[in-house]
């Protein structure tokens, strides 16, 4: 959702704000997944507490604190992300018409080794993946806020609302976990690997960008002029 300057060998793919959002959400999301799992009565049963350094995994009040700390970062950054990019009218991650059929074509090229079609800054499946992550994230944020409110102020909250919030949170957890695994899995596919560097340093090689994202490079060149 950002555009950047170009140089001879590298092209800036993400600015600092986008990298901060991505890594903040990613790291807090991992802590949330882990502390969420440990909120289930699982760590003591499966002897995770016996692993050196993991004594805390069976302490529900400790993992609740961890869950809260990670939630502050996660929820704050999600709201920041929505407001910031909405106001700047940065929509490049939002799915476009034809993304589903285009994604199927791209996935086929991974198997058939046929050349990929030219891409813009993001691949069609990246835009679909964004929605696949965004939906469980929003479910988790809304239901999590309701559950936190209940913990603090309304232990006798309406049972129907509470059950909805609980099960939306639990289903959201499963969807988010699957989306997380899918995201990591996508980075293992060879053609996608240069994008890891992009998210770590903010820059990708010009060679990669011109080869795979010519429409984006063209856009950057036009802006330059």
């Amino acid at each position: 959702m950002s555009s950047g300057s170009t140089s001879d060998k590298l092209v800036q793919r993400h600015n600092l704000i986008v990298m901060f959002e991505h890594w903040g959400i990613a790291l807090s999301g991992i802590v949330l997944l882990m502390s969420g799992i440990f909120q289930m009565p699982s760590a003591a049963r499966y002897k995770i507490t016996a692993i050196p350094g993991f004594w805390w995994s069976g302490e529900f009040f400790v993992t609740l604190k961890l869950h809260y700390i990670a939630s502050v970062v996660f929820v704050g950054l999600i709201l920041f992300h929505l407001v910031y990019h909405l106001l700047l009218k940065e929509w490049s991650m939002v799915p476009q018409r034809g993304d589903v059929s285009e994604s199927v074509k791209v996935l086929k090229t991974f198997i058939t080794n046929e050349p990929e079609p030219p891409f813009g800054k993001y691949l069609p499946e990246q835009r679909l993946a964004y929605v696949a992550i965004a939906v469980p994230v929003l479910l988790l944020v809304v239901s999590g806020l309701i559950k936190t409110w209940k913990n603090l102020y309304a232990p006798d909250m309406d049972r129907t609302l509470l059950l909805w919030a609980t099960w939306v949170h639990n289903v959201g957890f499963i969807l988010f976990f699957m989306a997380f695994l899918g995201h990591i899995g996508a980075l293992l596919i060879k053609p996608n690997r240069p994008m890891v560097r992009g998210m770590l340093t903010g820059k990708v090689s010009r060679e990669y960008a011109e080869h795979r994202h010519p429409l984006w490079i063209q856009e950057l060149e036009e802006k330059k002029e």
Partner: protein, 342 residues
């Protein structure tokens, strides 16, 4: 001058016990009728007057225990045979063959009567203490149940839904008194992943919520021959407890323990002394015989500050997003103006 303390109880202590009994009886007589009836609306609380309870010394089993067993045990489903062995612990908790046990909490015994032998001037005095769920005001057992199988009703009762509970026993772990008790071989887990997730259903006093909603008192209270347990509007019960405690020079337990509860004990003897002499009582949660330590802190309160930060996080993110976007828009405008000037 006061008599020297003997086992922590003075002559004044004996006076308190006697005065407590007297105050309890007279208090009962003076109690408004609506306190003895079971109101169905609003926040409720129960009062357990230890100056009145004698543990039903003339019976084989306290009436509250018998009544609770008769009312609640038929609601527990038939336990499957064999009970699935939970991986990897292989620990099964089966009380179905020992339903008669009455000297501790079990799924089939949700209230029991502890005793405390206090010696006053070489005279033994037995205080009987009915023990069950305290129905805390903000109970961790309910608020952090991962499936919301354990919830707090608006009337104050903390209730486990046996149709939803997986028997993971988290509620027991976070309860300062380890009240909920597990019965393996029943419940939802049998239909999901019986060897790998869950291990039965947790059971505890639900304040006879179904009876309350029918306008009846909890079974234990209705059966109590001494009227040592009463239920009523929370404010009135607390006022009544304070009145009785003042009259007997005694103490209250449950008003502030674990952040406050809906069960208020009144005793002519200090709870610190009672706790030291509880029988049976054990620190081991496996024994289902809770301690009575006064001033138990609400452990979850330690995370309340962080919880409030979570509630504030959307607003913080929103403001940061607004500020960030306006800064960026201003930069863009400046850049565009610069380009136009060139």
């Amino acid at each position: 001058m006061m008599q020297p303390l003997e086992n922590g109880i003075s002559r004044r202590g004996l006076f308190k016990v006697s005065a407590g009994l007297l105050a309890g009886v007279t208090g009962l007589a003076a109690l408004p009728k609506k306190l003895l009836a079971a109101p169905v609306e609003g926040k409720l609380a129960t009062l357990i007057d230890l100056s009145l309870c004698d543990g039903c010394a003339d019976r084989l089993q306290p009436a509250c225990v018998t009544s609770c067993k008769q009312t609640k045990n038929p609601t527990i489903p038939q336990v499957v045979d064999p009970i699935p062995s939970p991986f990897p612990t292989n620990i099964i908790e089966d009380w179905s063959k020992n339903q008669e046990v009455a000297n501790r909490l079990t799924p089939y015994n949700r209230i029991f009567v502890q005793k405390a032998q206090v010696t006053v001037n070489r005279q033994e005095k037995t205080i009987s203490i009915p023990r069950r769920c305290m129905h805390c005001d903000n109970p961790a057992c309910a608020t952090i149940c991962p499936f919301s199988a354990n919830t707090k009703d608006v009337n104050g009762a903390v209730v486990i839904d046996q149709e939803l509970c997986f028997g993971g026993a988290k509620c027991k772990t976070v309860c300062p008194w380890q009240i909920p008790q597990r019965q393996s071989g029943v419940g939802l887990y049998l239909k999901v992943a019986k060897n790998f997730m869950g291990n039965g259903v947790m059971y505890k006093c639900d304040l006879c919520i179904d009876r309350l909603k029918e306008g009846k008192s909890p079974a234990c209270m209705e059966a109590c021959p001494k009227k040592a347990m009463i239920i009523g509007p929370r404010d009135q019960i607390i006022a009544e407890a304070e009145k009785r405690a003042a009259a007997m020079g005694g103490q209250i337990f449950g008003k502030k323990e674990n952040g406050g509860t809906s069960t208020i004990y009144v005793s002519p003897v200090s709870f610190k002394e009672l706790e030291q002499k509880l029988t049976p009582a054990s620190d081991d949660p496996k024994n289902g015989q809770p301690m009575l330590k006064p001033d138990v802190k609400r452990k979850m309160a330690e995370s309340d500050g962080l919880g409030k930060a979570v509630i504030a996080a959307p607003a913080i993110g929103l403001v940061a997003g607004l500020v960030g976007a306006f800064v960026k828009i201003s930069e863009r405008k400046t850049q565009n103006a610069g380009k136009e000037n060139q």
